[in-house]
Symmetry: C2
Subunit: 190 residues, 2 copies
């Protein structure tokens, strides 16, 4: 998606260690005009997928997911992160390893809001190692919900998550796919 790629080039920042900061428009400060355009693109891509629910994970997935919910006209559910392992039976749970914080989080959604008959579009801001997306897909499977696909804002295509999750049989659509980033600040898109 050209609009997003241009914005990454103009406002994104590359930090040492392959970190791309886009907190000026996507995951700290959010630009509603850009996020609306991105949501419309997700809707164009998944218009015929029978989506009845958007699922994401707190915190930075919530913004893109809300705009997607508006484009699809369906509820938006966000999984919560929790370090507690002992939860009552009212939640579907899964585990996600956080590479950012070096900690394993339990993610959870209420059984009231996800189950058999749901066709879910998972939305997230980044796809790199794919840990969060794996956890969300597993959570849907546990709940008996179908995964219509995953809509990702920015995919680091040089990291293994996208390949692994597509091999798992899940349709993944990323609005910007980064082929390579150099420490000098050069970004090449796929």
């Amino acid at each position: 998606m050209q609009l997003l790629e241009q914005r990454i080039l103009s406002d994104g920042e590359i930090l040492p260690g392959g970190i791309l900061k886009v907190d000026g428009f996507l995951n700290h400060q959010m630009d509603p005009v850009l996020l609306t355009a991105m949501a419309e693109e997700f809707h164009r891509l998944f218009a015929d997928a029978g989506v009845n629910k958007i699922l994401t994970i707190e915190a930075s997935g919530i913004g893109p997911a809300c705009f997607a919910g508006l484009a699809f006209g369906c509820p938006v559910l966000f999984a919560k992160k929790n370090r507690t392992r002992n939860l009552s039976g009212e939640f579907w749970t899964s585990t996600v390893w956080s590479f950012t914080h070096n900690v394993e989080n339990t993610i959870l959604v209420s059984k009231k809001y996800l189950g058999r008959g749901d066709r879910v579009l998972i939305i997230d801001d980044f796809l790199a190692n794919g840990a969060a997306l794996d956890g969300l897909i597993t959570l849907c499977e546990t709940a008996g919900a179908e995964v219509a696909g995953a809509g990702i804002c920015i995919e680091k295509a040089f990291q293994p998550g996208g390949g692994r999750i597509r091999a798992r049989g899940v349709r993944v659509e990323s609005l910007a796919r980064i082929k390579s980033m150099s420490d000098g600040g050069e970004i090449e898109f796929c």
Copy 2:
């Protein structure tokens, strides 16, 4: 706001200890139709307040804030919670006591996105003890930004936060103000 009050009465749940659960439409699963109507009401209330930025706090404030950003046509910034006290100089910080988790969080926003010249509307899902709102207001003052007001989805008017923050000179508009809740499930609005 009648639409929200009706939804609280039909889908809200009262748990022991004065807890109101609205996670079917506001802070776990979100209804984009309701949140759009609420954002338009915030815009009607603060249309002349010169707002150029929406500020909220992760995680459950992000949804209502995104829709407000769309209604106001301005960027949405969310404060992050952090238990680390030692942060580099690139953030404005403040502290917030969490009554839910009995822990003090440092909240932070990047200095790049908040400062002198900003006129901020703070949006949050709940106002009860007012700890989060106090922290966000203090953070704006530290940054040299003006607080145009606070737009709250649900205020527990029987708790002290709303009164204290209005006494602090901040305009607070709450779309639903709860006067009392009984353990039997009765809710009375102001």
